[in-house]
Assembly symmetry: C2
Homo-oligomer: 154 residues x 2
DNA sequence: AGGTCTGGATTTAGAAAGCGAACCCATACA
DNA sequence: TGTATGGGTTCGCTTTCTAAATCCAGACCT
């Protein structure tokens, strides 16, 4: 196994690290579960609540936070014959988290799955071949994990 | 923008979803910050504490949790001329989260960066060309996000 | 118009977790 | 023998979480 060299501190302090900032935004159980549901198409308050089984206060607060952060857009939704209600849809910012959550799904399949075949898989449109999260260079060719180098002050 | 079709519930319930399970394991602010530091080479209790500035009780609990979940390995570490102490290193399970955290870093660079060039970038060994997190098919060729199809009960 | 239903919340009070500071313990070294 | 150091735990206090009840606005019904 590739061992990471010992360090006393990370190369950049958390307060100026975009990974740490991203963790501040999405690094929360309920927030991640909301994003999971949203990526599956859930948009309405009560649907989120039924899905997550979390206190409505928490849901209300997390939705506000995600709207403030720009991951969700709140806008009125008008079902025919019903009054207008808000719905929460993913912005481009929120949608762009999809590869990360798919990667996390596959990590869960690999390490937490109870042995059965994963209930959800992902394929390339038009084919049946499974896809996986990986690294690619500028030309879209895969880079193996052991070939990755970290460069500071890029 | 590709819109996700409305759904009242997610296609699989959270309790049998490996993504939801993964979120239970790593979906926590301190846990993610610990993994971030570990991926940069931090291994020792006090180094984690100096890095995260979190209460030692919380750090202690999260490290235990990560060891129990199998992401970290706790083993004695013997510096020359010092007494043996525990160190926490990433297992294969923990190391395999690296693509996801790099992906999250790049998401942060794209959406949260304050305008400057990202302080950390990743390249392929031997070259200067930047790499990025993406999806590939079985042959290692990139699959664009809009080409991803979700298949249930795969 | 009045009553009811429904989705989208806020209020309230008790339980859990987070937090900072102080303390403890084992061992290398002077 | 004493001191320094790394790796924790204990102790109160504050914040956050949680569950249940309540509120509110707009359709729909009669």
């Amino acid at each position: 196994m590739t061992q990471i060299p010992l360090a006393r501190r990370s190369p950049i302090p958390p307060e100026s690290c975009n990974l740490a900032s991203a963790i501040e935004v999405v690094g929360d159980r309920w927030t991640l579960l909301i994003l999971r549901a949203a990526l599956y198409g859930v948009r309405r308050f009560d649907d989120f609540q039924a899905e997550l089984k979390c206190p409505r206060t928490v849901l209300s607060g997390r939705l506000k936070g995600l709207v403030d952060a720009g991951l969700l857009v709140k806008r009125p939704y008008k079902a025919p014959g019903k009054r207008a209600r808000p719905e929460y849809t993913l912005s481009a910012m929120g949608l762009s988290l999809r590869p990360i959550l798919i990667g996390l799904t596959q990590w869960g399949d690999a390490w937490l799955g109870v042995g059965e075949s994963p209930p959800i898989s992902f394929t390339k449109a038009g084919t049946k071949a499974a896809i996986r999260a990986a690294f690619v260079d500028a030309d879209g060719r895969e880079v193996r994990p052991d070939q990755i180098r970290t460069v500071i002050r890029g």
